[in-house]
């Protein structure tokens, strides 16, 4: 039956359909990014077209980018990690302290990253093996890690970091392409490969979708969770390099609060579901750029950083709401609003709408062709449509009345 709702397409492979590709979430994100840039170029042309504005926008927003990449994996598991900023600061502190001792810079950086990985492993151990909820574990470990930094550093700040840190935050290759963007895109490519092409990435998806099913399929859920949390720790270590570079090679205990929230916001904006198992890697990568442009653009328009928080909060909520809207939800709302919660009325309306659509199509075809009794046939179909609509209306009214009467009766019985 063409045009009905009930025919199913069981073919597995989907070809490239331009119509579908253009309304994908990732493409919508690209439109948003273009829109922001166009708006900015129109509102502040003298600033936007100055040399270096776009580069500094990208540089300013990308210090959070490694955290976003790691956070996508965590969210795909259905977990959450709010201790990443604290991990990042802790790793940076270890690097800085070792640099103060005079050790070679490469060893210091590697030790810093290893410390972050240990932090991640601790989170992973609590979540995977002790089965503690990820939210509460990482909230408390974030307090723990930041507390350690506060105990060690106190009011002091570390200033001795490798020289190349600053280049990551500030340098443009050839004065045009930001170094941080190049590094981020390379990391992003690796992560896309790992998530979408490697067995490990597929395991993450299965565990996120249904841990029980994954367990029965022979996947060690605990191991995968542990690996993902250690990966997050590794990315936090990389993030400390970006962050300290951006901060101009300085570190104190109160720095970087709220970075975990920005990372989560970027990942969620990129279309990763917080329930786990849903999302693509390239969405968050685009979303990171959007966040960078947005925060910088709001700053350029003279909006106070605290007021910016409202905008970011609203954007976060609205995007999640948009992504939760699907066909089923629209159907439910329609059922409640127009069909009085009566499935029979819904069914007859749907069927009539499909039939009417079908007949209208036929009329159009007839109009194009040159059959002899064209006018008569069109008239006939029009009458049919009218009859179907009339019947539908009558039946819905009848059923609605019946439903009301039933409800009345039920009420009386319970009195």
């Amino acid at each position: 039956m063409p045009g009905s709702n009930y025919d199913r397409d069981l073919s597995v492979k989907e070809g490239f359909v331009l119509k579908k590709f253009l309304v994908k979430w990732e493409m919508i994100l690209v439109y948003i990014m273009v829109l922001i840039n166009v708006l900015l170029a129109v509102i502040k042309p003298d600033l936007y077209f100055t040399h270096g504005t776009v580069q500094s926008m990208i540089n300013a927003g990308l210090d959070v980018s490694p955290l976003v990449l790691g956070m996508v994996f965590i969210l795909l598991l259905g977990d959450i990690d709010v201790s990443v900023a604290a991990q990042m600061i802790l790793g940076g502190m270890v690097t800085g302290l070792l640099m103060d001792k005079g050790l070679p810079s490469l060893i210091c950086v590697i030790v810093g990253i290893i410390v972050c990985m240990l932090c991640g492993a601790f989170n992973g151990f609590c979540v995977a093996f002790l089965e503690m909820p990820a939210v509460i574990t990482t909230i408390s470990t974030s307090m723990l890690f930041r507390g350690i930094v506060e105990i060690v550093l106190g009011e002091n700040s570390l200033k001795n970091f490798p020289k190349w840190y600053n280049k990551i935050g500030w340098m443009n290759i050839g004065g045009i392409i930001p170094l941080s963007m190049v590094l981020f895109l390379i990391m992003g490519a690796i992560f896309i490969f790992v998530l979408h092409k490697s067995p490990f990435g597929r395991k993450v998806y299965i565990v996120g979708n249904n841990p029980t099913c994954a367990n029965y399929s022979g996947i060690s859920v605990k191991k995968v969770k542990m690996q993902v949390f250690i990966l997050m720790g590794f990315m936090a270590g990389i993030g400390s390099i970006f962050f300290i570079g951006r901060m101009g090679g300085g570190l104190s205990s109160s720095m970087g609060t709220g970075y975990e929230m920005t990372a989560i916001a970027c990942a969620v904006l990129g279309g990763v579901s917080t329930n786990g198992g849903k999302g693509k890697m390239w969405g968050p990568i685009i979303a990171t750029f959007i966040m960078a442009f947005l925060t910088y653009a709001l700053g350029l328009m003279g909006i106070d950083p605290n007021t910016k928080k409202i905008v970011i909060g609203v954007i976060l909520i609205v995007t999640i709401l948009i992504s939760t809207i699907n066909k089923q939800m629209i159907k439910d709302i329609k059922l409640r609003l127009f069909y009085h919660n009566n499935k029979n009325i819904e069914a007859i309306n749907d069927r009539t709408a499909a039939a009417v659509k079908d007949m209208k199509k036929q009329i159009k075809e007839l109009e194009k062709g040159n059959a002899s009794d064209k006018a008569a046939q069109i008239e006939k179909l029009n009458k049919k449509i009218e009859a179907a609509q009339k019947e539908c209306k009558e039946k819905s009214a009848q059923w609605w009345a019946e439903q009301q009467e039933n409800a009345k009766k039920a009420k009386e019985r319970f009195k």
Binding site: V135, S140, L144, A265, L316, I320
Partner: protein
């Protein structure tokens, strides 16, 4: 007797007594009646927030926007009170409760009716409320001198009644009322039912969105009250106040035996948890050079408390399994 020994609260009380004994030896100055009252008065905001947080955690959700809500409501009350200094303090208490309930209603609508994940939803509203607090205050700070000029604004926090500050009485009454509400009313039991199992609650005819919505509204109302009392108690108001308080509130709940997955936990446990937390914070602030330890100690306490919760639950499960197998 056997039940009493097994109960979690007995362990908590033992911890409390041990802490007090240690405190007795390390800081002898702590055990005067004035310093004990001031200890309770300074930490009672945490208890109020813990009550609010518990309402949401019991449904299986989490609310990390309460600290921002507190700041927003507190700042709004202060701003309005300063522009109308003649209005008596009770009006501001009521205003704070209503405004807080509205904030909670926003969260509740998003989580309950639009089915957003509580953590992410309140993450967004956390940003929004903190930003609104800044917009309302305009970045201004208020200090004790300004609060003293207001007509009875501070009475509800620092005024004395039967030898205790009124804020303590409010907290005690709220603890009792909320405990009775959760334990002995059908509305309260519904909150537990939702947290234990959404599916079975829905099958039993409980409207899950509605209960979630109202639990968030109650949470918001209590938070709003705490916001007004915060400004009245400490006589300070700025948009960044109470930063990180939501973590302490969650810590108290978990310490008091509230299961973070919902459906488990009692108000008496939370009350003892709040007492333990206030003893620890006060104790730390009494010893010079210890204040930097506060954050990591709190974090460590939560982890240990959750781990203990986990192991006791596991042993209870094993015990129940044994009993069942004995029946067969």
């Amino acid at each position: 007797m056997k039940n009493l020994l097994k109960s979690r609260n007995t362990g908590l009380i033992a911890v409390l007594i041990i802490l007090l004994v240690i405190a007795r030896f390390l800081t002898p100055g702590m055990f005067t009646s004035t310093s004990l009252v001031s200890m309770l008065q300074n930490n009672t905001i945490y208890a109020l927030l813990a009550i609010a947080e518990m309402m949401v955690i019991l449904t299986g959700g989490i609310d990390i926007s309460i600290a921002s809500q507190l700041a927003f409501v507190g700042i709004s009350c202060t701003t309005l009170a300063c522009s109308h200094p003649g209005i008596p303090g009770i009006v501001w208490v009521l205003f704070a409760i209503v405004l807080g309930a509205l904030c909670g209603a926003l969260n509740g609508f998003l989580v309950g009716y639009l089915h957003m994940v509580p953590m992410i939803c309140t993450l967004g509203t956390m940003y929004i409320f903190r930003g609104l607090a800044f917009v309302v205050s305009g970045g201004q700070w208020w200090f004790a001198a300004q609060y003293e000029e207001l007509n009875g604004y501070r009475t509800f926090a620092i005024g004395q009644f039967l030898g205790l500050p009124i804020i303590l009485w409010i907290t005690i009454i709220l603890l009792v009322v909320a405990g009775l509400f959760l334990g002995y009313t059908s509305a309260g039991r519904r909150i537990y039912a939702i947290g234990t199992s959404r599916e079975s609650a829905a099958v039993a005819g409980i409207k899950e969105p509605k209960v979630t919505f109202y639990s968030f509204v109650i949470c918001g109302a209590v938070t709003g009250l705490a916001g007004m009392l915060y400004t009245a108690n400490y006589a300070i108001g700025y948009y960044g106040m109470a930063d990180g308080f939501e973590m302490t509130a969650i810590a108290i709940c978990v310490l008091g035996g509230v299961s973070i997955t919902g459906g488990k936990g009692r108000m008496d446990g939370v009350a003892i948890g709040a007492l333990i937390m206030s003893v620890i914070t006060y104790f730390i602030s009494m010893i010079p050079g210890m204040s930097v330890w506060q954050k990591s100690l709190q974090g460590g306490i939560i982890i240990v408390a959750v781990a203990i919760n986990y192991f006791t639950e596991q042993s209870a499960k094993r015990q129940a399994l044994k009993e069942r197998s004995a029946l067969i």
